[in-house]
């Protein structure tokens, strides 16, 4: 279809989102998109959700860390931010999420906020709470495996 004249095209904002999970979580793009839309639908209703749009433009995740660019309609960024904050689980995996920033173009968004994660994680045993335990260490973060699942620790705890 012939594209719209410029003044009728919707204006967008691109929201850079940082994602954090436990190291063994597998997060798919489709699952994350579904979680995002469900969160928006549940919090804002169908009408508000349609206004905010919240289409996922890019997504990457691995080793407990990820990032995404979300397209939001200009003027609905506050609602979108609320909906994004309400994503607490994707496919049953807990997700920590925070908005890194908002840009007017995809390119600016990627240049300014994306590609920060040098996700170089290593597996090693660490001393945590008087015991040697296997852990996944990524920069300052350190997810220690215990009997009852992972415990999030930091370099400060294992020194």
């Amino acid at each position: 279809m012939k594209h719209l004249p410029k003044h009728l095209r919707p204006r967008w904002r691109y929201v850079a989102v940082g994602i954090e999970t436990w190291p063994d979580a597998e997060l798919g793009r489709r699952a994350f998109q579904r979680a995002l839309w469900y969160a928006a639908g549940n919090l804002l209703g169908d009408a508000g959700s349609a206004d905010a749009d919240l289409t996922l433009l890019s997504f990457s995740h691995g080793d407990g860390i990820g990032e995404a660019v979300v397209k939001v309609r200009h003027g609905h960024v506050a609602e979108a931010r609320a909906a994004i904050a309400c994503v607490s689980e994707v496919d049953g995996e807990s997700v920590g999420i925070h908005v890194r920033g908002i840009s007017g173009t995809v390119r600016a968004c990627e240049e300014r906020y994306m590609g920060r994660a040098g996700a170089n994680s290593t597996q090693r045993d660490v001393a945590f709470r008087d015991a040697e335990r296997p852990a996944v260490v990524r920069e300052d973060a350190c997810d220690v495996r215990t009997e009852s699942g992972y415990v999030g620790a930091a370099a400060f705890d294992i020194e």
Binding site: G96, I97, V151, A153
Partner: protein
């Protein structure tokens, strides 16, 4: 702005991990609700070595607190008496009418946590008592962020009722997402956006997040050596010759 977190062993992340995540989210400090997670502050209110170390490492203030979760007002009273002299911030978990009543009538309690969870209810009598005794009523955004379906609807309805009562009587309040791990932590701007989406005033939510810091600061001041009573401090005095 401050967030009040549940740390390991009560939650799934240590105090340090919470502090690191909170620093990245833009918080000025965290209040650790779990008693076993952090050593108490010293006699004069100065932070423990661990809290001071975390402050140097991540640049966020780490406040030692306790969450008293008692079955009835009698045992709650004992626990509050024990922990008041030891901890900077004392929260009491509400969630039943007797405990809510006890918390708002006890000036030694700083925060009435999660008053409408479970069978607990809140009314104008409690709001007036909370205002007179300076007990902050907590608005728990946790269920808004993490629950779904009917549970979330009930939580939202309770929050609205609580908000109407508390704002009418101008009782002090705090806002928190009650994170149980670093994954549950949300940045202040996100919490404000969620608050706005469910009918709160943005500035009011920010005030609630700042209130944690104000409570901590006031209590540290009270425990410091120079403090005699509100408005009276031991100053520097001239040595008489």
């Amino acid at each position: 702005m401050y967030e009040a977190v549940h740390a390991h062993p009560d939650g799934d992340a240590t105090v340090a991990r919470h502090a690191a995540t909170a620093a990245r989210c833009g918080y000025d400090g965290i209040v650790v609700r779990t008693r076993d997670a952090l050593a108490p502050a010293g006699e004069a209110g100065e932070p423990s070595d661990e809290a001071a170390g975390l402050r140097d490492e991540y640049g966020v203030d780490v406040v030692d607190a306790v969450e008293v979760d008692a079955d009835d007002p009698t045992s709650a009273s004992g626990a509050v008496g024990n922990y008041r002299s030891e901890r900077t911030v004392v929260c009491l978990v509400g969630g039943d009418d007797g405990l809510n009543r006890f918390a708002v009538e006890e000036p030694r309690v700083d925060v009435l946590a999660r008053p409408t969870e479970g069978s607990g209810d809140f009314n104008h009598v409690l709001a007036k008592a909370a205002r007179d005794n300076g007990v902050h009523v907590e608005f728990d955004l946790g269920p808004v962020l993490r629950a779904t379906g009917g549970k979330r609807v009930r939580a939202l309805a309770d929050l609205r009722k609580l908000r109407e009562i508390v704002t009418y009587y101008d009782a002090p309040h705090v806002v928190s997402a009650n994170p149980r791990s670093h994954l549950g932590l949300r940045a202040p701007r996100e919490l404000v956006a969620v608050g706005e989406a469910v009918g709160f005033d943005a500035e009011w939510v920010r005030e609630g997040l700042r209130a944690w810091g104000e409570i901590a600061e006031r209590n540290r001041e009270r425990r410091s050596e120079g403090f005699i009573e509100p408005g009276v401090r031991l100053g520097r005095h001239e040595e008489d010759g």
